[in-house]
Symmetry: C2
């Protein structure tokens, strides 16, 4: 068979669109994907494991990694750093595993700058009305916050042009199946297959 | 939902690779694809229907269509013309149907010249050894013909670079499933979705 390197797939989209649900459902079906493990400076909680839930690092270590360009993306949240270390992703990809990263829009844009050969998938709601309903259904937001998040979502949707694929999340099963199709089809792209295949044929001709 | 135009998918590959089998199996599963109906100057046979098996035309009519640039591709075989009329494909695509065309390599390259916005899929054998076995298994060829066809296959495989996707036909079910993934994933490409989606959002904002 034709050996291929793995591919980094990045799933993003406006908050409230259902990225997490799609990711969970995808991982229940597809065991070939490796989930990209994040790095954080926050304290380890009970039940969490190093290298499983997060890579836990000190603030100094994290900042050194940022300076050395070893993060695909990072952000600060409530005084702690969270981010995606480059090394894990690159190692998995060299070994031929696909890596899957689910991340908010700003993070995805950082990944694209640092790893443009990734495949970027944008999850969208069927309509803004539907997105509003989903945010309201969470029941955790005040009316002002809902309006803020909708405005932010509209701005984020403008970022669509930076992505390779757009998947409508009208139905979880359908959305997951579309993402799975993108994974399969990316591996069939001629530029990923042709060189290796021709080398196999050359080998046979000897 | 987001309305999209249809897409022309062209499946090709060296002779003996199993294009016909993949196409038949695909059409048993996927009823959204329209099969592109060929045009011919050969006589209608018993049981055949105009516009179902072929569009039957006189030699004069066929040659007029060639002159007027109304064929996506054509070839002569045993004194008759065979080809793909542009109009049927364009009408289906305008109506939002995907059109599927299974064709040998020379024909596919003609289609690419006349309709570069199509999606071109190249079916390959897992190895030349396997292709040789498949040609021998048909049992209809002399040894010389088998060698000729293998040489031709090698030359045709060089044409791979003209294609968007390469699908290995190691197993019919797998190959069909890969083609189905390509169909789904092409419809998720950002450039096919973004403009229409933004128009929907603009509409909602009014």
């Amino acid at each position: 068979m034709i050996k291929q390197k793995g591919i980094l797939f990045v799933l993003s989209g406006p908050s409230g669109v259902g990225k997490g649900t799609v990711r969970k459902s995808l991982f229940e079906k597809d065991t070939n994907l490796k989930y990209s493990i994040s790095m954080t400076t926050r304290a380890m909680r009970q039940g969490e494991e190093e290298g499983v839930d997060y890579f836990f690092r000190s603030k100094d270590e994290f900042e050194t990694m940022i300076e050395e360009g070893r993060m695909l993306e990072y952000a600060q949240y409530v005084g702690n750093y969270y981010g995606t270390p480059k090394q894990y992703v690159e190692e998995m990809i060299e070994l031929g595993h696909d890596v899957f990263l689910e991340i908010e829009v700003q993070g995805a844009l950082q990944v694209k700058e640092n790893y443009p050969q990734g495949v970027f998938i944008f999850l969208i709601p069927p309509s803004l009305e539907e997105l509003k309903n989903r945010i309201i259904d969470r029941g955790t937001e005040t009316e002002d916050l809902i309006l803020n998040r909708l405005t932010e979502a509209k701005n984020e949707i403008e970022m669509m042009d930076k992505y390779d694929y757009v998947v409508v999340n009208d139905n979880i099963e359908e959305a997951v199946s579309r993402v799975q199709s993108i994974v399969v089809s990316e591996h069939c792209k001629r530029e990923r297959v042709a060189k290796e295949y021709k080398a196999i044929l050359e080998g046979e001709n000897k």
